[in-house]
């Protein structure tokens, strides 16, 4: 029987590359918020619209997870208001925490409820290396991502005997739509970012997707950890 993978945020850069990586090996369900990607609705790939900033919608979606036998879940979605603390509104904080923390935690918990065998299964959470750093404008986003990473590490502990493995992937600068929007909104010069990267190149979304693919395919034997991906940025030190 072909196993099923659920990708939350499948129309994002990383999610899209991941779908391309694994579509020959798994049936895929992905969620999207905006427009569907072109490869949706094929025989083996289906799409579900889901607003991750609505906890009610996510809780309804959790019922769907409980009633479907997914083997792997990848949470690629993110939301970053990137504002200083005294500029953050109630809604900014709520949105950052709902998309980056409460929604993934409910999704992971629902998935854990479906574990009734000891076959290999996995949860991957796409976090961010920036989340682990104290950085201006990063308070809500960073603390929400880190809380989810810790929750996932506890999932690894409590479900290790059922062969659940978890991984948080924390990439540094990625050449993505999210970064391009960030640069545009904050009037940052791309060369200023590249100057901070010793290799003078950013990660590609494909490279991040490749790491997730390797984990799902059991090529990376670890669980309960966060791994940082980057090109030697100063963010790491």
């Amino acid at each position: 029987m072909v196993e099923k993978v659920l990708i939350i945020g499948g129309n994002s850069d990383i999610g899209k590359d991941l779908i391309q990586n694994i579509s020959n090996d798994f049936d895929i369900v992905y969620t999207y918020r905006g427009n569907k990607i072109e490869i949706a609705d094929t025989k083996r790939i289906s799409a579900i619209k889901l607003d991750l900033s609505s906890l009610d919608a996510v809780l309804d979606f959790c019922d769907y997870i409980v009633h479907n036998k997914f083997r792997h879940i990848v949470y690629c979605a993110g939301h970053n208001m990137s504002k200083l603390i005294n500029q953050l509104s109630y809604k900014d904080i709520t949105d950052d925490f709902t998309v980056n923390c409460l929604s993934p935690i409910h999704v992971f918990r629902a998935f854990c409820q479906t574990i009734h065998d000891k076959e290999f299964k996995s949860i991957v959470f796409v976090s961010s290396i920036a989340a682990t750093k104290v950085k201006e404008g990063n308070a809500a986003y960073g603390s929400a991502k880190i809380a989810t990473e810790r929750f996932l590490a506890n999932c690894a502990l409590e479900f290790a005997r059922w062969n659940l493995r978890t991984l948080s992937v924390s990439p540094a600068y990625i050449d993505s739509n999210m970064l391009r929007n960030y640069i545009k909104n904050h009037q940052i010069n791309m060369t200023d970012i590249l100057k901070n990267i010793p290799s003078r190149k950013m990660l590609s979304t494909k490279e991040v997707a490749n790491v997730i693919t390797s984990f799902i395919m059991q090529n990376i034997p670890t669980t309960g950890v966060s791994i940082s991906l980057g090109n030697g940025e100063k963010l790491f030190y």
Partner: protein, 129 residues
């Protein structure tokens, strides 16, 4: 599947030995408390219930195996930090306790009744409806 009590106990001990890395299942006594004598922890319990369900082809939940935790939240059974008469009655019935027990008996004290004997009885009840 029909099993006699001795067979159930033997299989329970084998599962416990495998989960807890005990060399010989025979070294486990029927009266051993799983928590107090064998050092079972909360994650072990979930694994234990999983293995019991597989082995005996039953559908037991972890809070069914040891219902004390759910009874604590039931005001008919436990209120103002003490067990009610119904609570005491349920404890004595479910844990097969003959002697009198105090209405302030703690959850920890009750763990000494969470024995192989008790587990075998629960499984037997479940298997025979």
């Amino acid at each position: 599947m029909r099993c006699n009590m001795n067979s159930i106990k033997q299989q329970v001990k084998e599962i416990l030995a495998s989960i807890l890395y005990i060399d010989s299942p025979q070294s486990i006594k029927d009266s051993d408390s799983l928590f107090l004598d064998l050092n079972l922890n909360s994650i072990d319990v979930i694994d234990f219930v999983f293995e019991l369900n597989q082995k005996f082809n039953i559908e037991l939940k972890d809070n069914e195996l040891w219902p004390i935790r759910t009874w604590i939240d039931n005001p008919n059974y436990f209120t103002d930090g003490k067990w009610t008469e119904s609570g005491i009655e349920a404890i004595k019935r479910e844990l097969s306790i003959q002697e009198e027990i105090s209405n302030d008996v703690s959850q920890k004290d009750l763990l000494r009744y969470f024995t192989v004997d008790y587990i075998a009885n629960r499984i037997n009840q479940k298997m025979n409806g």
